[in-house]
Amino acid sequence: MKLKSILIAATAFAVGSTAALAEDMTIVSWGGAYSSSQNNAYHKPYMAANPGVNIINDESSAEAVAKLRAMNEAGNVTWDVVDVVASDAIRLCDEGLAEEIDPAKDLAAAPDGTSAADDFGDLLVSDCFIPQIVYSTTFGYRTDKVGDSPPSDICAIFDTAKYPGKRALEKRPINNVEWALICDGVAKDDIYDVLETPEGVDRALAKLGTIKDDVVWWSSGSETPQLLADGEVVMGSTYNGRLFALIEEDKQPVAMLWDAQVFDLDGWIIPTGLSPERLAAAKKYIMFATDTQRLADQAKYISYGPARKSSAPLVGKHAELGIDMAPHMPTDPNNAKNTFLYNYEWWADNRDDLDAKFQAWLAK
């Protein structure tokens, strides 16, 4: 009898203490250098300030949309906060899989009192999306294979006479068709009007067709750095952070071609279907992790620009390399002479249709 009551007491204590000690929170992100930058800038300080929270990292962002839908249908959402690109956030919001966020209530104001809505500005592209970073898709080229005249213009990718060798492009239409039209003489402001018509799509594909045999198509952002390092391609598109790591950390003979870089956003969403306690905990984390200082801190570990205007002046040096990070940001004025922002609305409507055409074109 005595033993039994001791056992019960011990079990109750164990259950009670685990509940009180560690409140698990699963945060989903992309893995690699990106996750470790978040771990250093957000997770560690958050856990230090909130000893009751235990953050579990999951590296499933690449399949987040499909997995969230499956979890939602099964009625068992195991993720608390998810890192996705803006276009996926829009899709999740449309499908009712992400919570709507009220910037005034759920996000911290800037230190000088500017409201979060103004601080993020136009980057709040969806009601469910809290932006973290601005990244860009841009080109890197082998400095040892371009002779005395390194490319400075996006149209160098179509100039196989001057820059012979293979190019790495992403295996989807986004960005590629825009670059093709720019180099086919379409003004930047008219690109989507042209793409809206079947002739415009044909025109873009025809331009891409001029280099089709010289392209290695990638589907994961890590492929281009590898292809550049191996000398398989002379130039290739990928995310600027990957190129930064290749150039500054791996010291490869590669340089950036910032011209016509495409800005895109990455940030958080909170899945729908969480219990009120978990939702509150997720919102508390978001409030902390997207404040001005935290966003600036992340740029110490990876070369992506913070999404808040108020964070930009706080960007310092790289935590390990000790180099100034500001010139490596895609948003730096020197790099951002000619840019465009991913047109979310247009691509949300036309992505599937254009992708089908693009894949059919690729297969032929």
């Binding site: 839908r69 198509w217 191996d230 409507d349 599937d352 059919a360």
Partner: protein
């Protein structure tokens, strides 16, 4: 008297129960026990395998979103003739306004938008945009208010799409999976530059057959060697066959990248030997060649293992007998040994073919554009476009193709003629 004769003719057990009843009871108990023993596995397969697949396949015809979210509009649209080329009447707009107000409150209007956007690009933003406005709509003249919210509501094509997908079941996904669409003149193929799925089905089949054949050509001699060597050395060889089998698929695929790329080991060696020039390095990866090489390597053990286990059971005395009666080596092999290995070839081929027809990750990594399979498109629709209905329809078609081929195989070779050992 009758009781007595009855008792004599019917055999009973010691406690007076007729033997027949007692036996059937015992048998029933036995049967029940075996059913209970199988039940956990049966339930496991049913719950974790059959039901989810059935559910997934059912999505290829299901279309609950449109009639569920826009019930009044669907009813109002019934009177409208979609081929008239005219706009629907005011009642339809009024019904849509009522439906959208409910849907916006429940935040389901954007889901209908995404669903219809698969069929008619632009509807997603149309619903998103109109959803923001519809709360402020006033009573009366809904047509004008919708047109003011977005002029795209004046496009008859939008209404045709809504009407086309207003029933709870749809053949739309299957049409899309067969590169077809419904037009005013009935079902027609899509324009040439948008057709992709049938082409990919064809390529998947051709490449899978090629991979199966190369697996037979490479696997047969190895299995023969394995089965004819003494146990010690054959065990060592067997480990060499199995070692890659235990290595991660991604590691093996990445290793092929290092070997096959243009600045890779094989090309470097060939250039160094002077067999190919530095400017004409072979393209061995990011094309069909890459897919065939990498997948043959990955699937080879599935060919070797059944072949080996069948060859192991063939007694060497048959060959000796044939030779002692004057057959040449080749004749004895071809007429005596080879026919006995056919069940192994059959089993290996089915395994390799069916595995390769559904392969996804290797073609994605080494196939470039000319070496990708239909499963890569299925994966795209599952994880990126979220068009699960189309993915399910493509999956059903793939399943049907495999079943037809299996049936053909059974008719031609006979499924009893397959042995795994």
């Amino acid at each position: 008297m009758t009781d007595q004769t009855h008792a004599q003719t019917v055999l009973t057990t010691q406690d007076g129960v007729p033997l027949k009843v007692s036996i059937s009871r015992a048998l029933r108990r036995q049967k029940l026990r075996s059913v209970l023993l199988v039940a956990p596995l049966f339930l496991f397969i049913l719950i974790s395998f059959v039901l989810p697949i059935a559910d997934m396949l059912f999505r290829s015809v299901e279309n609950p979103l449109v009639p569920g979210t826009l019930p009044n509009t669907v009813v109002a649209l019934q009177v409208w003739d979609e081929n008239s080329g005219e706009m629907p009447p005011e009642e339809v707009f009024a019904a849509l306004a009522a439906d959208l107000k409910v849907a916006v409150a429940a935040k389901t209007h954007t889901r209908v938008g995404s669903r219809l956007n698969y069929e008619n690009p632009g509807i997603a933003s149309l619903f998103r945009k109109t959803g923001r406005r519809v709360k402020r709509f006033e009573e009366g003249d809904y047509t004008a208010q919708f047109l003011k919210a977005d002029k795209k509501w004046g496009d008859v094509g939008v209404w045709q799409t809504i009407k086309q997908f207003s029933s709870p079941m749809t053949a739309g996904y299957f049409l899309a999976a067969a590169d077809a669409q419904r037009t005013a003149d009935g079902v027609q193929f899509k324009p040439e530059d948008e057709r992709i799925y049938l082409f990919l089905f064809g390529r998947t089949l051709i490449l899978s057959v090629t991979i199966t054949i190369t697996c037979i050509l490479l696997g047969y001699p190895i299995a023969f060697l394995l089965s004819s060597l003494p146990l010690r050395s054959s065990n060592l060889l067997m480990i060499l066959v199995l070692l890659p089998f235990w290595t991660s698929l991604l590691v093996r695929t990445s290793a092929w990248k290092v070997l096959l790329q243009q600045q890779g080991v094989i090309n470097d060696t060939l250039v160094w030997l002077g067999i190919v020039g530095d400017d004409s390095r072979l393209a061995l990866i990011n094309n069909q060649t890459g897919t065939i090489i990498a997948m043959t390597h990955i699937l080879l053990p599935f060919m070797i293992l059944p072949l080996f286990s069948v060859m192991k059971t063939i007694s060497p005395t048959y060959m000796r007998a044939a030779k002692s009666m004057g057959a040449s080596d080749w004749y004895a092999f071809w007429r005596v040994y080879f026919p006995q290995t056919i069940p192994g070839i059959g089993a290996g081929s089915i395994l390799v073919f069916i595995l390769s027809i559904g392969y996804y990750i290797t073609p994605e990594l080494v196939g470039g554009t000319s070496g990708i399979f239909i499963s890569n498109r299925i994966a795209y629709h599952i994880s990126f476009s979220l068009n699960w209905g189309l993915a399910a329809a493509l999956g059903v078609m793939l399943l049907v193709v495999v079943m037809v081929l299996y049936w053909l195989y059974d008719r031609i070779v006979g499924i009893d003629n397959v042995k795994l050992g």
